[in-house]
Symmetry: C2
Subunit: 239 residues, 2 copies
Amino acid sequence: MSSSRVVFKTTAFERPLVTVDVVIFTVMAEQLCVLLVRRPESDGEPYPARWALPGGFVDVDRDASLLACAERKLRDKTGVAAPYLEQLGSWGDAKRDPRGWSSTHAYFALIPQPEAVDASATTTTEWVPCDQAARRRLAFDHNTILSTAIERLRSKVEYTSLPAFLLPEPFTLPQLQRVYEVVLGRPLDKSAFRKRMLDAAYLEEVGMVTGDHGRAAMGYRLRERDQATVFPRTFKSGE
Amino acid sequence: MSSSRVVFKTTAFERPLVTVDVVIFTVMAEQLCVLLVRRPESDGEPYPARWALPGGFVDVDRDASLLACAERKLRDKTGVAAPYLEQLGSWGDAKRDPRGWSSTHAYFALIPQPEAVDASATTTTEWVPCDQAARRRLAFDHNTILSTAIERLRSKVEYTSLPAFLLPEPFTLPQLQRVYEVVLGRPLDKSAFRKRMLDAAYLEEVGMVTGDHGRAAMGYRLRERDQATVFPRTFKSGE
DNA sequence: AAAATAGTGTCTTTGAGACAGTATGAC
DNA sequence: GTCATACTGTCTCAAAGACACTATTTT
């Protein structure tokens, strides 16, 4: 039997550039932070020396899929392998990259505070409080992407368990509440908060944890590390 | 002054194929329907004669942006110019298109029932009830995209004004409620429904409309045609 | 008048926030 | 013991669902 290899027409269309960018969030010192990288200064590079979101071209030989590409970029910059990673959206037009018509697939990731704070000391990579990062003039349309990411995160935090992915396990309910408050920028009622978290049953007790002062607290970890839990209601935000 | 034209390095990376697909919803005969198109049978075309979502390659010469490209494809297939159009997500990997590594940007659109029902008679284009469409074997990964779109629509209908974009204006509250019920697949309480719609204040009275039988009803139109309204709560879905 | 549909009023239930109270650990 | 923090109980209030009622138009 002759193995018949089907030949498909290649298109006449000029192909746009395709990139993947990742907005990586963490909480450091009670602040929501985002990772920025400095663009190279070499000749022929757009936006030389400008701060940007980590990202770059899809490598059709190495990346099996867009998600794999995003995971690779995250791993390269932070060493984190299995974070919370969600697609944010895509942006594409003729002007956003001076090299030509380009489209980028943006993801956002949540990771616990990285142990090696080296990253924040490097000259090509920096953890920046996200409000401050949003005020810098970033490369490409990364200001738009970053704003969208912050907005999406803040909005989802109102009714999902997303902040749990910003903490190293095990964590206590008071710690988790503090992260919610940091991201939302307002205090929450302790009793209502605890009821919500426990009713949702997405946490697993994992033994008492003793803090610096005061009474010991129950430690928890996520039952499912690969998806967020959606609560039936939103936190009442002064409706 | 010599006009210095900056030359940017073109990348060594092989460029993936870039397409845009649009999931176009409408309500016909009390059913949520989606528009499918038949792929050409010509040689060298992938998935010949298979049903697919409307879409195709980004044309870097004609399309200023991804959104403009999606609008063009919608206009070409339906003649509708200013519908509700929202980004759904993107899918990209090495295998989804036999012609090579490809990524697609998917949008979903909501339009009022098209007057020309010609479209549903054509051999290359068909309005299909969406549950039925989801059961067909579509081209590429369009089953995944369609499922995601249906899921997203159903989920957003629980807490947004999206169904209003599926009706021609002016519409009455009972008509709007029927669309909600069609999309959600369950009945809603009339009183609670009306309270929600009117409290959200996203509708504008536009005069009485008389139906076939019974009492005349107030006609409404959207105050803002370019964005959906988000309600403070979700419709209680048998929590 | 009867039928059909539009629109309103009221009761009940639910669940979240407020806030004060109790428990348990470190010193 | 005191202090600091973890955790719980109870009251109140608001919003949504249930459902019965009234209103207006067509036949």
